[in-house]
Symmetry: C3
């Protein structure tokens, strides 16, 4: 694909400063760009990178000021505009054709909406319902009586077990697992006895589930993921967890059984929450943090057990001074001993 | 399904206090229950939730005392009884039919016990043996000369490589991996040279392996998982690891090469053990902890490098006081300076 | 297989001390070995284990001194020699036959080099190129226009999406994912809006990717993994990450978007790097560490946020003394109060 700066600017409501006849063939970051590339500046922190960039054109926010030898396109939101340009220059791969691949193994009576696409080697058990326009990638498994909404995109080799309910516009990346048994046992002497995991999983609309992420079914009742939740790769959602609307969980987040994550919560990499803990709406968990008690809303927490961010930061800053503090205390003791000796 | 409280009580050896004709149709936690649900109280900590619950019936332990407007069923172990009721009200999905799906690719000479079920698109290489009653879910791969015992349940899209030995009543959740190469290299200059991983994996009876968990084959000899071990989702078992009977490992546990985990050890989320370390029987590793030296038996450890729990707790508690302590030491120094000045 | 010590010694350029007619049938560690086994001592720390080993023969380094009742084989590098012996005694499984399994679903026009092996149920989309001698295991998915070099080994149930480029001699363990969407969103009010992930992944030669590891495609441009990189199981490589030559990343390493890892960096289990951070060549990240700022080359760092190793160690050592230090400061305050009172 190739477009002129002029065409691009029109598509993103931009104002051009410089030559608008330049041909753009690809996209790159300010650092990596070469001639023919378009780039963008979203974070003012990297503003100096514009001047040294070899991009032919750079999209910036309206209030940007600086030098650049190529062409500038000013817009209201450079980040969003760049995403639009990306879709223009590199069109997403063609959506797989509607219909069922001859190698798919689909039980009798499965209900498929209009224009559903079922890829090669897909296995769909009896009682399944799939909404209009949803794509089921190669090698996926969908268990008995599971329901998936419309306009979803389920990439290859995803496994979903029985009686799961999934809303509209779901995106599930490759290798993700939905509806596996929860990790529940009782002890008999030294042995673990499995507790039947007879519950299920309910997932809302506009949810995205990352590659190799796992979502366990409930012991009874439901593991619930509300509308708009975004899960990165390698997230673990245990049995009976509840995740509120628009929460965003990053790689290696571990949610223990029956914990409840509020709406718009953000959990950083390697964070977690203990069983039955509630994290309030809009709270943020820093990397490697995990609360063992409830977290109130709009709170940033750090460390394990998780503490309020500022408290944790002060302790950690003081910790760096601790080796010297030990010496200072020893010196004080000696001074006081000496004083007493006098 | 629907059952009366009377029928339920008979099934779990319970004593009814209240109306035993109530119809029960579903299960829920005390908080989530509505009319028609049965719930239970296992942890006395949540005792107050019984009174406010909208469940039609609640199973409690014999020694429970309190108010409830619905029907109470007293039993010896409310938790276990509730699991029984769950299985009565929500029967587990029908076991897949015995036999081989026509799309399965099974090598000549593979030995299958009675009533084995081989799902669609399963691939089984030559020399494999599978015991009576075991289910191999859709899309599973089983490598050359691997042996799996009887009455196992291997869910869809599980991958098991060559020469692995697995005992009876195994449960493997979707996406799990058994027998991948260990992460072993030697250095030649700046480059890594792969060490052949010619060993295998030996798994005992009554083991459960979570979704997307990985178990590497040994460099030579065996990676060993003893009877009764339970692995949650996303557990990493490296080459030549030994896990003792009934150990239970939670999500994101990382076992480095050749470490050895004692019987009945419990490892919490995001914990781990360094290479060649031994963790003694019945020891417990707290979240985010990892020992770099051997841990004696029946020891609870925290932090990295892991320390005895109480020592770690005392340090962490003191850490919260540290910012003030820094100020107190500065004040002491000033007081002493002033004293000297006098 | 069975070989005499004499034959083994010839294969590894070893000097025999003891009976060289002994038959060797298997390999084991010094601790686990029984009669008929050969073992080795690489780490002088375990030297005492030679004497008590029940192995029939032990390979040691030339400078080893000690007692052993069986046969000793002295070589320059016992570790490397033992790997050679492992391959002699336990030949790796036969490489799958060249050709395409009849159940594979391969698009028209796919370009396959000589002696490529395509396993059962593999799905290969249009425009794919695969180099000579590469093996694609059962159930793998390879997306449109992806290119894979020669002599690669891709184990079963691996998923690779469109437009990915992979070099020669790649090894990909089971369940790994390449080319999934990056985790990128902008916020509109309370909701997350997906940023199209139109970039791709470029992987060099001699790379190994562990089981269930995930590598996200770039938002635009490329996620890059240079020659000789080794990734363990459960590694997360986010969009636009760059990993330099011969870096080695262990289980549960999390690389956030656009971070850049230098050549020959080593990252331990559960470590990570924040977005846009650069880790210099030859640096080492200890377990549970993650830098939030750039790390200079040849630096060992610990903790979160990551600090130089020695600084971190001193703080942690002092932390163990902290509970007593709190008491010592209180005692000092009292002594000073008493002094003032006098």
């Amino acid at each position: 694909m190739s477009m002129t700066v002029k065409d691009i600017a029109e598509n993103i409501d931009g104002v051009v400063d410089g030559d608008d006849n330049v041909e753009i063939t690809s996209l790159a970051s300010l650092q990596d760009a070469v001639g023919g590339d378009i780039s963008f500046l979203a974070n003012p922190r990297y503003s100096s990178a514009v001047k040294s960039s070899k991009a032919s054109a750079v999209i910036v926010n309206n209030d940007w000021k600086g030098d650049f030898s190529g062409t500038i396109i000013k817009v209201q939101d450079a980040d969003a505009a760049f995403s639009q340009v990306a879709s223009l220059l590199i069109p997403p791969p063609a959506k797989p054709e509607a219909g069922m691949h001859p190698t798919a193994v689909v039980a009798n009576g499965v209900k498929l909406g209009d224009a559903v696409s079922i890829g090669p080697n897909v296995v769909i058990e009896s009682g399944v319902t799939i909404g209009a326009g949803t794509v089921i990638g190669a090698g996926c498994y969908i268990g008995q009586d599971t329901t998936i909404g419309s306009d979803g995109m389920i990439y290859p080799n995803v496994s979903i077990r029985e009686r799961v309910t999934i809303g509209d516009r779901i995106i599930i990346q490759m290798g993700a697992i939905v509806g596996s048994d929860g990790f529940g046992y009782t002890q008999e002497g030294r042995k673990w006895v499995k507790i039947p995991q007879v519950g299920t999983v309910e997932i809302g609309d506009d949810v995205e589930i990352g590659a190799n992420t796992t979502i366990d079914r409930a012991r009874f009742g439901k593991t619930v993921i509300e509308n708009g939740v975004k899960l990165d790769n390698h997230v673990q959602v245990a049995h009976n967890v509840h995740i509120g609307e628009n929460a965003a969980l990053v790689a290696f987040v571990a949610l223990a059984g029956s914990c409840s994550i509020g709406a718009n919560v953000q959990m950083a990499g390697h964070s977690g929450a203990s069983g039955h803990v509630h994290v309030g709406d809009y709270s943020v968990l820093m990397p490697f943090s995990a609360p063992t008690k409830d977290v109130t809303e709009k709170t940033v927490v750090s460390g394990f057990p998780a503490r309020p961010f500022m408290q944790h930061q002060k302790s950690q800053a003081a910790l760096l001074k601790l080796p010297k503090l030990v010496k200072r205390v020893a010196a004080l003791e000696k001074r006081l001993d000496d004083l007493k000796g006098e």
